[in-house]
Symmetry: C2
Subunit: 376 residues, 2 copies
């Protein structure tokens, strides 16, 4: 297996820097420190958002790494997890010894309407033509969850309250401001019943990791963070064809694979893909972090808070930290790196020795689950 020996990220938010500058901000210190021999760039929309192609080669040129091979790995919102999976493969196969993974996206070049429309291009033609968007799917999911499990509408809003509190403790988060339950509930509705604070903002940002095979990890750092297990799975892209909108098959299957490989049942914290608040709850249930149909109750009991039994999205999650598409999955690994090294500052989870991240494409079209630990 492989280990993360160093990590870095930019502040997420509306940034004036361009795509290359953001990538450099997250990686230049790492490039100077290590002999990188492969760069995997996690990015989805450089063409649509920034009119740039060949982004991986442009980044290595910008970083002065002319002869270092690179590729771009894309899996829409789940690109980060897929890029880490590819980095691990390149290391296992001995094609590379020291891989730099750079997740980057510059979204604020477009306005909200354009961004929503571009992201909806991952839906099937029929559903897209019907006017479906990812936020509208989240609204449908929330309503079905409330109906089936008698969950109060407030339970989703509590996810936003918790994640904004965590974001307020994260100097790299897009939104570093707490919100109250009342503020969430009274905010403009985006997709009934979910409001503005329950969705990710449109963010720019980049995150980087240096990954090596386990045997070299301790030669670089006393505190490597090991990737103990990694699982990837998929589900149909046609959401209306799924048996049940509350079943996220790709998430569940990826979690089973990762936990089996890691030989880990319980983790000390998790970073989930909370593109919308309801998703955090359903994902946590699919991954066995919360009980099926009862996940919402945890949010009334502080159970998922930083000092709770099962801390979720200590970074602020996509909800408050922001969701620069290609960077998000990589930034989740950065948070795991900091937590397990006991370097997460005021949002540190006590005795964080194992963690989990879920990097997800579309509406569970693809999912990569990674288990991290302080030992191999």
């Amino acid at each position: 297996m492989v280990a993360i020996i160093d990590a870095n990220l930019t502040r997420f938010g509306k940034r004036k820097e361009n795509l290359l500058e953001l990538a450099a901000e997250a990686s230049l210190s790492l490039v100077r420190k290590y002999e990188i021999d492969f760069v995997v760039v996690s990015n989805t929309y450089s063409g649509e958002f920034n009119s740039i192609s060949g982004i991986n080669n442009l980044i290595t040129t910008y970083l002065g790494m002319d002869s270092t091979p690179s590729i771009r790995v894309d899996n829409t919102s789940g690109s980060g997890g897929s890029a880490i999976l590819v980095a691990k493969s390149l290391l296992d196969s001995r094609i590379a010894n020291t891989v730099l993974v750079i997740g980057v996206e510059k979204m604020s070049d477009k306005n909200t309407k354009q961004v929503t429309s571009i992201i909806a291009s991952l839906l099937s033609y029929e559903e897209r033509r019907a006017g479906l968007t990812l936020p509208s799917l989240a609204g449908l999911m929330a309503k079905e969850y409330m109906r089936r499990y008698n969950a109060p509408r407030e339970s989703f809003a509590l996810v936003a309250v918790k994640n904004h509190l965590n974001g307020s403790l994260n100097p790299f988060a897009h939104i570093q401001k707490k919100v109250t339950l009342e503020e969430v509930l009274k905010a403009p509705v985006i997709a009934e019943p979910l409001t503005l604070y329950e969705f990710t903002p449109i963010s720019d940002g980049a995150a980087s990791l240096v990954i090596v095979r386990n045997e070299y990890a301790y030669s670089f750092t006393k505190k490597p963070v090991f990737i103990k297990g990694i699982g990837i799975s998929s589900d149909t892209s046609i959401i209306s064809e799924r048996d049940d909108i509350l079943n996220m098959n790709a998430v569940r299957r990826a979690g089973i694979i990762a936990k089996r490989e890691a030989k880990v049942e319980k983790v000390d914290f998790a970073e989930l893909h909370d593109m919308a608040t309801i998703l955090e709850i359903v994902e946590a249930e699919e991954l066995g972090l919360l009980s099926k149909g009862e996940g919402w109750k945890a949010y009334y009991e502080n159970y998922t808070a930083i000092n709770g039994e099962m801390p979720i999205n200590t970074s602020g999650g996509l909800n408050a930290k922001g969701h620069p598409i290609g960077a998000s999955g990589v930034a989740q690994a950065v948070e795991a790196f900091l937590q397990i090294r006991n370097e997460a500052g005021s949002r540190q989870v006590k005795n964080a020795r194992t963690g989990l991240s879920l990097s997800m494409a579309g509406f569970g079209n693809s999912a990569t689950v990674i288990i991290y630990g302080d030992e191999p």
Copy 2:
């Protein structure tokens, strides 16, 4: 190492089918025959050309492979080679056992001017703003080659004559029509001195491979085609910063790595990246297939013809077969598969036991060289 156990492709050309239909045409028979457990999609411009993202998940859904994990690998024109490299890594790392690589691009949704402009988005900002395009770089390279090596202008045109002859023998080629030297020379100039017939047409198409680890290869077929070596390297994306426009460093380095790994010095045929005729000559020199500065002479001696000493682009190359960006590098491997299995019909190279392909991004910004053989 790994082996190709089956391969397929669509006819290249202006096709009425959409991106998903092309991908399916190339892969459906393979999906029905093998238990694929990972799909790597090689594609660059689904967003820019077709307003589609999440193409890998849409393809697996379209093929009825809902739970099969997939990713998109992009390296612009060199995506195919990079996708095969990633497939090999996934197999080596045991993340997958049977990988389907699908290269696909649907370019004819845009007109020539739009396509040229979109592809120019891989150039550095400064060079792009200066109006540079890939064809114009090829023109500059051709002029410098003529000046330095006293090469006649006709020598480049002879590349097109040879590749169109080969294309006329390939039922999957975009252009299946021979051209004479005179026709090439008298065609409209695209980038002085190179004419229309010396560049790739704008093509739609898809190509697919099934790849497994060597130990399983013979359980699927009596004639697996082994990947004996694979090398990837890069060069600066800022072409004007290179010491010498005739040095393709990424190509040379990738070739050295691949040949060293394969323990092969001489190959029986090669598929090169002839986006423009001049490139085939310079690449062949960098790869040691032709002598430096004297490559052009080979085209007066039938040396690179199918029945010559060093057959190059038996498929017709990008020049006549066409260059659907994401499909090209995969289609090169399909040609190698057919040649080594003695299934290339009227363009069969006698005793073809080893072959080489060069999949290249931009103007040598990245290069992947693969060596194929009939034994591991």
